[in-house]
């Protein structure tokens, strides 16, 4: 090496080593000969397409697709977990075990909301439930559980002869198509008896 920096006896050994390495390297590297490198320079020829220029975008695209797929799978799993949690919450209140919504209806989270707002004996809850399914436990009849909005028209239930009797004039809270057998909570019976007393 012609570095000119080596001075003194301490560097003579390094110089000797470097000279030895230079000789070894030159002997071997000088045996490397190209196979296709042209002997004459051709200016203006396009630069050879590099092998990584094609693979790098493809590899990046694959990596991006895998990342998106992983994120999508993760988000769908989170959605599934939330739905399961909602189902557990719907099933957890006492007295409603086994009264989950019909899974085929696709409204797994609606029963819990409906049940929460209508299971309490508050009068407001009774007022909002004045559509035929008032106070009915969720899932007692599956068609009604799929339409929890108060203004929704419930499907026509199977009427019993007792339902066809004429309603009392003051019984404004009693839904005509709802069978009384489907209204067991004590809150509603209390309300009904209160109406009878007020009328009397």
């Amino acid at each position: 090496m012609r570095n000119g920096l080596s001075s003194g006896p301490s560097s003579s050994r390094h110089d000797a080593e470097e000279a030895l390495w230079a000789e070894i390297i030159r002997c071997e590297i000088d045996s490397w000969n190209p196979r296709r490198l042209p002997a004459r320079f051709q200016p203006g020829t396009p630069q050879p397409s590099h092998r990584f220029r094609g693979t790098l975008p493809a590899a990046f695209a694959v990596w991006l697709i895998l990342l998106l797929a992983a994120l999508t799978g993760l988000s769908s799993n989170v959605g599934g977990v939330l739905q399961n949690l909602a189902g557990v919450r719907a099933a957890s209140p006492p007295g409603t075990a086994g009264q989950l919504a019909d899974p085929a209806s696709g409204s797994g989270r609606q029963p819990s909301r409906y049940n929460r707002s209508h299971s309490s004996p508050r009068p407001s809850a009774l007022a909002t439930a004045n559509t035929g399914s008032a106070g009915a436990p969720m899932g007692a009849s599956s068609p009604r559980t799929s339409s929890p909005t108060p203004g929704a028209q419930p499907p026509l239930p199977t009427a019993t002869p007792s339902d066809l009797t004429a309603p009392t004039p003051g019984d404004f809270r009693r839904p005509p198509p709802s069978p009384l057998t489907d209204v067991p909570p004590s809150s509603l019976s209390r309300e009904l008896t209160g109406a009878e007393h007020s009328r009397g």
Binding site: M1, L5, F41, P43, V62
Partner: protein, 170 residues
């Protein structure tokens, strides 16, 4: 010719004839892949031809060309590293040709034990016979750093050769 500025195409053709093999061999020593080295050598000469008007007199033509070759090889190594990262699989440098090449030389094994930076120092100093000042200008460092790196590189190469040939080393 090695110290003259290549002003015309004829000058550059002479430069190419003179440095075709040294540049190819230096690049091959850097990337340790014969097939890629041929493409990269052509790329280096094309770059040198395109930027020949920027060539100043602070470096010899040999140092200027070898500097371009080292830059091209270093860029290739960086791209290869990124490509391997995205591909997710460790792969030996090169394909079948590199596999053939690996059989032949102990120097190649010793160079493979070095980092690209140390490889550049070794090849520019010990093979291209550039001075420490020229190597420092090419690599953007000081001549003292070049000397210390060269010393460290020779130790690493000796250790690599000793581990690959324990009988000869003993």
């Amino acid at each position: 010719m090695s110290g003259k500025k290549p002003q015309t195409a004829t000058d550059f053709e002479l430069l190419y004839e003179r440095f075709r093999l040294p540049v190819y061999r230096l690049i091959r020593g850097m990337v340790l892949d014969s097939g890629a080295a041929e493409e990269l050598a052509q790329e280096a000469f094309q770059k040198a031809y395109a930027t020949r008007h920027k060539f100043r007199g602070d470096l010899s033509a040999s140092a200027w060309l070898h500097g371009i070759a080292v830059n091209v090889a270093s860029s290739h190594l960086r791209r290869r590293r990124v490509a391997r990262f995205f591909a997710g699989r460790p792969r030996p440098p090169g394909g079948l040709e590199a596999e053939e090449d690996r059989r032949q030389g102990s120097v190649e094994r010793a160079l493979a034990a070095l980092s690209p930076g140390l490889r550049a120092v070794v090849l520019l100093s010990l093979y291209a016979h550039l001075s420490a000042e020229e190597v420092a200008l090419i690599l953007g460092t000081s001549p003292e750093t070049v000397s210390s790196r060269l010393h460290a590189a020779t130790e690493v190469m000796a250790a690599a050769l000793a581990s690959s040939h324990p009988a000869e080393a003993g």
